[in-house]
């Protein structure tokens, strides 16, 4: 510790160089910290919006393929299933706003509270949703976006079914989760019947399982139940269902990680270069220090401490800045999109753990960069160095 002022003085000797090196290290650590949030961020986001006891049963061919409505009853009969809800894509477009679309689904109002108890929908709203044929429950974000109020009437043109229906909003889903507009299946079915067509299919059957331990069993049974039928099914947990929507970000993350790796390497070169320069410049001084009795370990220690101190300080600042940086990205991407799959990125947070890892990495960069030149300087025979001087 008593050498600390000496180390600091040495760092302040060439302020521009120190600033440039520190800036490069700080920025690199900042980036690395941000990227470290990516895999965990996606996972955390998925865990947050999904339940581990909710399972999606859909056609094996994909969610755009439907299944016979009769499957709903059969899935309900699987042991361990507490509630099921058939979901049909309504594809409603909001006329008044220039025909914008948002996810809208027709489903069974009776089972909403049992399948999605974690959505915390007001019991009164659920009751109205059950009783009023034209009732709709809307996600809070969608309500805000179009400035809808509870009790308001909204007309949606279906882009899938040949109908235009008017709904009365009876409640909101008090979080920002997936479904944005829920309507009664029966209402859609009647509108279709008026045109002589039957609504006898279902897109996704949402299943709530009594116990997380039974989830795998329920999924296996559901798949086995419809094997070799005209519509074979795939069952997956809600988390895995939504994970496939974010899967496309994976390759971007990979490329960005490759580039980050390159930048980190680049920064290591820079730091090493700076350290070796600092040593070279001070050849004479080091020789004098050695000649007046400072040991090799002191020379080595102070030089390594110099590069480590710089890297750690700069990296620390960079790591802490990631708090601000991730907040900025959240603001930017949140403003430019309306709830598509990239909305996932708005949930990314830099945790203390990541800041700690960033700082640890900067310590390593400082050590690695400093060791080689410091080793060389400490080992050089005093006489040889002094001879160069005089």
């Amino acid at each position: 510790m008593k050498y600390l002022p000496f180390v600091v003085r040495n760092l302040l000797r060439n302020k521009l160089r120190t600033a440039l090196t520190g800036g490069a290290i700080g920025l690199a650590i900042l980036l690395v910290c941000f990227f470290l949030t990516m895999p965990g961020g996606i996972d955390r986001l998925l865990s947050e919006v999904t339940s581990n006891v909710r399972v999606s049963v859909h056609n094996k061919g994909g969610v755009v393929y439907d299944m016979p409505y009769a499957y709903v009853q059969r899935v309900r009969s699987i042991p361990g299933v507490t509630a099921v809800n058939p979901e049909v894509w309504f594809g409603g477009a909001y006329e008044q706003e220039g025909m914008v679309t948002f996810p809208s689904f027709a489903l069974d109002p009776d089972a909403v509270g049992n399948v999605w108890p974690d959505y915390d929908i007001e019991p009164l709203a659920l009751e109205k949703f059950r009783r009023q044929r034209d009732a709709a429950i809307v996600g809070r974000e969608t309500m805000k976006k179009y400035r809808w109020r509870i009790g308001q009437q909204v007309s949606l043109v279906s882009t899938v079914w040949p109908v235009t229906l008017t709904f009365r909003i009876v409640g909101e889903i008090p979080n920002d989760r997936a479904p944005h507009f829920w309507i009664q299946r029966e209402y859609l079915a009647q509108a279709m019947e008026a045109q002589g067509r039957q609504l006898d299919t279902v897109g996704t059957i949402w299943v709530r399982v009594a116990d997380p331990a039974l989830v795998n069993d329920v999924m296996t049974r559901a798949v086995a139940m419809f094997r070799n039928s005209p519509a074979e099914v795939n069952a997956e947990t809600e988390k895995s269902f939504f994970a496939s929507f974010f899967g496309s970000l994976q390759s971007f993350v990979q490329i960005i990680l490759v580039v980050t790796g390159l930048v980190a390497l680049c920064v290591l070169c820079i730091a090493a270069n700076t350290a070796s320069m600092a040593v070279r410049e001070r050849g004479r001084e080091i020789a004098v220090l050695r000649a007046i009795g400072f040991g090799r370990s002191v020379i080595f220690g102070t030089l390594v401490a110099e590069s480590t101190l710089l890297a750690t300080l700069a990296g620390g600042v960079g790591a802490l800045l990631t708090y601000g940086f991730s907040a900025m990205i959240r603001a930017l991407s949140g403003a430019s999109m309306g709830g598509n799959e990239l909305g996932a990125l708005t949930g990314f947070l830099v945790t203390r753990d990541i800041v700690a890892r960033g700082i640890a990495l900067s310590v390593v960069v400082g050590l690695v960069a400093g060791i080689a030149p410091a080793w060389g300087a400490a080992r050089r025979p005093v006489a040889e160095t002094l001879r160069e001087v005089f």
């Binding site: 521009l16 160089r17 440039l20 090196t21 800036g23 490069a24 920025l27 690199a28 900042l30 980036l31 094996k60 061919g61 994909g62 969610v63 755009v64 393929y65 594809g91 025909m99 914008v100 679309t101 043109v157 882009t159 899938v160 040949p162 067509r197 299919t201 519509a231 074979e232 496939s244 929507f245 899967g247 496309s248 994976q250 390759s251 971007f252 990979q254 490329i255 490759v258 580039v259 390159l262 930048v263 390497l265 680049c266 920064v267 070169c269 820079i270 090493a272 270069n273 320069m277 070279r280 410049e281 900025m328 990205i329 930017l332 991407s333 430019s336 999109m337 799959e341 990239l342 990125l345």
Partner: protein, 392 residues
Amino acid sequence: MSLPLSYSVRNVRIRLRRTALTIAVIALAVVASAVFLALISSLQRTLVSTGSPENLVVLRKGSDNDGSSMLTLEAYQAIRFFDGIARDAAGQPLASPEMVVQPTVWTTRGTRENVLARGVEPVALRVHDQVRIVAGRMFRPSSGEVVLGVGTVGRYEGARLGEEMPFGRRRWRVVGIMEAAGSSFESEVWVDVRELANDANRPFPFSGVRLRVAPGADREALIRRIEDDPRYALEAKPETDYYADQAKSSRSLYVLLVVLAAPVGIAAGLGAANTMFAAVQARTVEIGTLRALGFSRGTILRAFLLESFGVAMVGFVVGALGTVALAAVIGAALGGIGFTAATFTTNVVALRVGAGDLGAAFLFAAAIGIIGGLLPAWRAARLRPVEALRKA
């Protein structure tokens, strides 16, 4: 009196290790910035370059993409004979009825992606003149055959010429491969429209119609006529506008990439300039000596600038080669970058390093060379020779 060029060259050679380090740093900075730029431009090329300005996309009113549209047979039959639609030699209108579904397909890596399966009739190849069959042939209607966009080949289970690709409710025989100038048609799978409708259990076989506007015809009048027809509630827009609108949903990704690329560039630039700076600054004594020998400030400045610029250019060349190699490695390892558009279907984006990307990286490297060389050389050249020499 000017310093001979050989002075700069020799300098580089004597300080070989440091020069190599400088070159490496600049090369890494070039690779980092060029890869990011290439990522952005590749994404843009795939998403925005799709479609032809002579084509119209006709969808049910309110559908923002053809995955969520439906069109009745009678609507199709009516509009295909409207005035202003191009016709082929046999007098048939160049109107391609199409249906789009997004089946889940397994990649060869064991992950799932939603592929855009487009049900078409053979006329589609004449309407989409971007699309060419480059291997095999077009499918025959009602025979369970498919044609693959080149981006899907090898990416998905069974997605190879002559193999069978499972999606929807059945397996389909791959009989042809199509290319479409890097546009998103290359990420699609084309099937007979009626077979696909049948497979997907769709009551209406068509989700939309693509029309080719006749040369010289009034496009706006045709659009008005389609949209004003009260019987069908349709809307029409130029195909290029349609894909440009689709690409809007990925804007936030550009914002993200730029926000990431900027600090990458700054970090790399700072470091590279620093390294260059150091290379010049370490030679203050030498500069003093040169001044004492009678070389003018301008001469010294020019010589050092030339040297640093030359080193930066070597760094650029190394970096450019590295970028191309890295893009090739990424291409081989990932096979094209899957990017899910707003319609939940996967666009396979080929990471291609364009001249523009390398041009921007060149400017970046040149700036590093000039700024990194100029400032310290200027500072050193301004020192009085005596002072500079005293530093020794």
